[in-house]
């Protein structure tokens, strides 16, 4: 994802989309030449609590910023209790930015 404050008003960096597919997918991050995409799978989002949705949204934002998966915390794949930023992602954040 390219975050450019001087052009943010005219250039879209990230687009949010809904998909509907009968699969185990909750959401994904897609890197494209134009605007990157974060998509959420409505098939499963319909069945989720607000906290679970929030966690997935934060997690995908993490990918958009360049974070990979961790064994713990918000960047852990497939776990739902976390809704706040954890130490791992904070460390990564300071390292990357």
């Amino acid at each position: 994802m390219n975050i450019a404050p001087d052009t943010w008003a005219t250039y879209e960096d990230l687009t949010f989309k809904d998909i509907l597919e009968q699969s185990t997918l909750l959401g994904y991050y897609q890197k494209l030449t134009g605007s990157d995409i974060i998509a959420f799978n409505v098939f499963n989002f319909m069945k989720m609590t607000n906290d679970e949705r929030k966690k997935v949204a934060l997690h995908e934002m993490g990918h958009a910023l360049g974070f990979g998966h961790h064994d713990s915390g918000i960047m852990r794949q497939g776990r739902f209790s976390m809704t706040e930023l954890d130490e791992h992602i904070k460390e990564d954040y300071y390292e990357l930015y």
């Binding site: 998909i19 597919e21 699969s23 030449t33 997935v56 910023l65």
Partner: protein
């Protein structure tokens, strides 16, 4: 509705926050060197820990070994999300029961933009299925399209003659110890205990 507004405002405030903190990071778009095809990788997240076989099996309706016969379609999910459909021959059922020839809808494929640029969209490093090769699939049945959606990457594993027997044993064992996510259990029309059985 309230929830949607809440999610949206959370995201919006994160974006604003991040925008202010950053001075601009160079885009490193991935370019394939051999061909002039751009590759767009998908980083997907699942209702489960997809690295654990008991969870992949527990959240799938069918787990089976099949040989890819041929590509039969390129019906996309949306404008950014190509899909490729393959006819496969079921060789062995591990969970659920599928007969003979079925369609696998892979989360990968080519898309062409208005300027004619071709992009291969794929799940991380998972390659497009290859006719003639045999895979272990873990999938959900999509009754609207009458095809099967495998778990990207983790539910489309290449099988060789050397690894076949061991893989069948591992997934049979995983079926016995299967774990289904609470989210998937809410899809009441699906049977995750026994899997999808094609009666016809």
């Amino acid at each position: 509705m309230k929830r949607k507004v809440l999610i949206f405002s959370t995201l919006l405030s994160s974006i604003i926050f991040i925008t202010f903190l950053n001075q601009g990071i160079d885009k490193d778009s991935v370019q394939s060197k051999e061909q002039n095809i751009e590759i767009s990788e998908i980083y997907g997240d699942f209702v489960m820990d997809a690295t654990k076989k008991e969870e992949v099996v527990g959240n799938s309706e069918n787990v089976f070994i099949a040989k890819v016969i041929k590509q039969v379609g390129t019906q996309p999910l949306n404008e950014h999300m190509p899909r490729t459909q393959f006819e496969v021959e079921v060789k062995r059922n591990i969970k659920g029961k599928l007969k003979d020839f079925i369609i696998i809808n892979q989360s990968a494929g080519f898309m062409t933009d208005s300027e004619g640029n071709v992009t291969l969209v794929k799940f991380e490093n998972q390659e497009l299925l290859e006719p003639g090769k045999t895979y272990l699939f873990a999938s959900l049945y999509d009754s609207n399209n009458n095809w099967h959606n495998p778990v990207p990457g983790y539910g489309e594993v290449l099988v060789s003659d050397d690894t076949k027997k061991q893989m069948i044993d591992e997934y049979k064992k995983a079926f016995k110890a299967q774990k289904t996510s609470k989210i998937m259990e809410k899809h009441k029309d699906k049977d995750f205990v026994n899997g999808y059985i094609d009666e016809e």
